[in-house]
């Protein structure tokens, strides 16, 4: 049997197990264990397990994940994320689907303090799901707005994905981060527009809130956001002033939130333990998946499945825009079934020569890659944001969430299209910064 065939069989087995409801991490690792044993030997398998587990847990960069998740949990205890959300809600109350837009707006602001879309989703998930559902919003629209809003976390700086991409392609990380700002704002606006259009077309999905909101209430809601502004000033300001790096910002953010909770007398021993336990659960399943995904990646790489794909693409002699379209399509398909980070680590080395051949700007392509990864985060069957949301908002099923996120794929595609036609939207800031 050709070695590529074994790789494909592994992928099929993974899907089979996943759709049977076997935990994702286990569904990925079982074919990987069997495949490595079959192709190599136990010695190789144990080396793979040894180094992959260590490399992906003994990690400084990845420590942002539990710390930002903890920050979110503590924000929730403080009632702060609720207030942020409420401010948006009051200001957007005149609009149809205002709550959905409030979710996206507060996600975008939160994104400016969080490097991970997972932390973003987890934090907004707790509050926004409760508020939207109790206001009578459709479950899928609720899930979709939160999970999609969460993707802004990696496009609006700080962003762990840009850092990984910059390392792999040897591009300036500073320029990459800045390149994400305008596309991030553009995507936020399009997400909001999506909610608006959906609600106009299907009014049943979001009951119009007939409450009269006075300008006085709106402005006084701003008063209650003083804590958030303070928190963001500390976290973002501290980062930009060089008091601490983005990794440390997560720990500082958690600590600052902890302090605010203390000052506001919201923090108790049980509530603190509860916040940490939820964080632990999220950390547990995320890292189980990250670790197992990399073991699976090793298996897929030795079966040459990624190389087979690249050779196939290289073999087609197509005009650039078609090739670009195919690359995007390939990432969309891969992103459906793989963790975004794992996907990029495996494919980028293969795709890079193709990108260079087409003379595309690598900073610009970084923004495109992040957008495609965002899409992967909200498409089934492997959509990390949706899993996180499922974890933090038990009243939403994965089915609800994936149904909702399917709508938000359209704005992502539109932003990719706009960036393809007008690369300057991404490149303007980085080119004028240095």
């Amino acid at each position: 049997m050709p070695i590529e065939m074994i790789g494909l069989l592994g992928v099929i087995l993974m899907f089979l197990l996943m759709f049977l409801g076997i935990p994702i991490a286990i569904s990925m690792v079982v074919p990987a264990l069997l495949g490595i044993l079959y192709l190599k030997d136990f010695n190789t398998l144990s080396t793979a397990v040894e180094t992959i587990i260590w490399d992906h847990s003994f990690s400084y960069t990845l420590s942002t994940i539990p710390m930002f998740v903890l920050m979110g949990e503590l924000l929730y205890i403080c009632g702060i994320s609720t207030e942020l959300f409420n401010t948006f809600r009051l200001w957007l109350s005149k609009l149809r689907g205002g709550l959905g837009m409030a979710t996206i707006g507060s996600s975008a602001i939160f994104a400016a303090a969080s490097g991970s879309s997972l932390a973003n989703t987890a934090t907004m998930g707790v509050i926004a799901s409760k508020e939207m559902l109790s206001a009578g919003y459709d479950k899928s629209l609720t899930g979709g707005s939160i999970a999609a809003g969460g993707t802004l976390g990696v496009l609006i700086p700080p962003s762990t994905l840009f850092i990984v991409y910059g390392m792999m392609t040897e591009q300036s990380i500073g320029q990459l981060l800045v390149a994400g700002i305008i596309p991030g704002i553009l995507l936020m606006v399009l997400y909001m527009l999506t909610v608006y259009i959906v609600v106009v077309m299907k009014p049943g999905m979001a009951p119009f809130e007939n409450t009269k909101v006075t300008w006085k209430a709106r402005f006084s809601s701003l008063k209650s956001t003083v804590w958030i502004i303070l928190l963001f000033l500390v976290v973002i300001g501290g980062m930009y002033l060089g008091w601490f790096n983005p990794t440390e910002a997560a720990g500082i953010g958690a600590f600052a939130t902890f302090t605010i909770a203390l000052l506001r007398r919201k923090l108790t021993v049980p509530s603190f333990i509860h916040a940490m336990s939820s964080t632990l659960k999220t950390t547990g399943f995320l890292f189980a998946i990250i670790i197992m995904a990399f073991i699976l990646n090793y298996f897929l790489t030795i079966t040459r499945v990624p190389i087979m794909l690249a050779n196939f693409l290289n073999g087609l002699t197509l005009p650039d825009f078609a090739l670009f379209g195919i690359i995007i399509l390939m990432y969309v398909l891969l992103g459906a079934v793989m963790d975004g980070l794992a996907m990029v680590v495996v494919t980028l080395p293969i795709i890079l020569p193709l990108i260079n051949m087409m003379q595309l700007d690598l900073i610009w392509f970084g923004v495109i890659i992040v957008l495609v990864m965002e899409m992967g985060m909200i498409t089934p069957p492997v959509g990390m944001n949706c899993f996180v949301l499922r974890g933090s908002a038990p009243s939403l099923s994965l089915g609800n969430i994936f149904k909702g996120t399917s709508l938000f794929i359209i704005p992502i595609i539109i932003v990719i299209g706009i960036l393809y036609l007008f690369p300057e939207i991404a490149l303007f800031l980085p080119e004028n910064m240095y």
Binding site: T47, D55, E170, S172, G242, R304, V345, V346, P349
Partner: protein, 338 residues
């Protein structure tokens, strides 16, 4: 055919009488390792062996990170890769880390000359129990990348300098700097935001990471190099027929080390040129007088002392090793560190 024996090996090999050699390049496919080293080596191997050995290169560390090359090659995750000696300080690679010490070598070619002999004497026998050791290579010399001009040792006083390992820590303290431990990933941000003022880095690497953007003052010092040793999986090598084994040992493995060293030499020239252009008008590319460089050299000594202590605690004779190295340097006509 003696080679096509076990069931697993037949899968590992390309077909009857042919062998597949899997390379893990933990750098990207755009890195100079790819176009200057691995691709030409693949061609050389396939040509010299008449296609009996085919080489499959995986870029971007998709088979494993640089931090686990030793374990990965000995465990058979892939057949060949490049081990950075300093990442395996606690292993049989330790003797090679003498090359990391301040002013041990001025550049790649010199390091290769001396380390080959040094490694033969102190490290290879023990390493050969788990892997096939190829002749060593080394990076270009590290320069200082700083947010303010460094023209003498005094200029470093009180500056926050990034450190990654113990001997570096000792060196920075001796220089009067404040050591800050920061990962390579955070170094750019760190320089940009003033978390650190200065970092040692390879000029070739700095072109890629763009450290010259936040730190446009570059002092050419060639403070130290990073020794690296290409290694091969033992089972792969022993599974080859004798004539192929011979060919790898005599010709192909030394050729790989040579390709690395040549790549560093040519890239360094280009890198220095590029860095000079990049910082002109924004910063300064600083060359020091010999007397000033000697001041830096003197202050490297504590780092050597820390290394000797470590060597002794690991059961080597640290003093003897350093004496040997200095003798080798003198015999070959190179300057000794201090």
């Amino acid at each position: 055919n003696a080679a096509s024996s076990g069931g697993n090996e037949s899968v590992n090999n390309g077909g009857e009488g042919t062998y597949k050699l899997v390379v893990n390049n933990w750098q990207s496919s755009a890195h100079h390792y790819a176009y200057n080293v691995w691709d030409p080596w693949k061609e050389l191997v396939e040509e010299k062996t008449d296609g009996r050995v085919t080489v499959e290169i995986h870029h971007g560390g998709s088979l494993g990170k640089s931090s686990s090359v030793y374990q990965d090659v000995s465990g058979g995750l892939y057949d060949v890769s490049l081990a950075v000696a300093n990442y395996f300080y606690d292993t049989e690679f330790f003797p090679y880390t003498i090359g990391n010490l301040p002013f041990a070598f001025e550049g790649s070619a010199e390091a290769v000359d001396i380390l080959t002999e040094f490694g033969e004497k102190y490290a290879n026998e023990e390493l050969e129990e788990s892997v096939i050791v190829m002749p060593p290579t080394a990076t270009d010399g590290y320069d200082l990348f700083s947010t303010q001009p460094i023209k003498a040792v005094e200029d470093l006083k009180g500056l926050k300098i990034r450190v990654n390992g113990k001997s570096e820590n000792a060196f920075v303290k001796a220089l009067g700097g404040v050591p800050v431990s920061l990962s390579t990933e955070d170094a750019y941000e760190g320089l940009d935001k003033g978390m650190i003022d200065t970092t040692f880095y390879t000029p070739i690497g700095a072109v890629g990471t763009g450290y010259y953007e936040p730190a446009p003052y570059i002092t050419e010092l060639a403070i130290s190099v990073t020794p690296m040793i290409p290694i091969m999986n033992k089972d792969f090598y022993e599974g080859l027929p004798e004539d192929l084994q011979q060919m790898f040992s005599d010709e192909l493995n030394p050729a790989l080390a040579r390709l690395f060293t040549e790549s560093y030499e040519t890239e360094l020239e280009a890198a220095h040129k590029e860095l000079k252009e990049a910082v002109s008008g924004r910063g300064e590319f600083i060359n020091l007088e010999d007397s000033e460089i000697n001041e830096f050299r003197e202050l490297g000594q504590p780092a050597w002392e820390v290394w000797v202590e470590d060597a002794n605690s690991k059961g080597y004779d640290g003093e003897q090793m350093i004496n040997d190295l200095f003798n080798m340097l003198e015999d070959a006509g190179y300057p000794v560190p201090f």
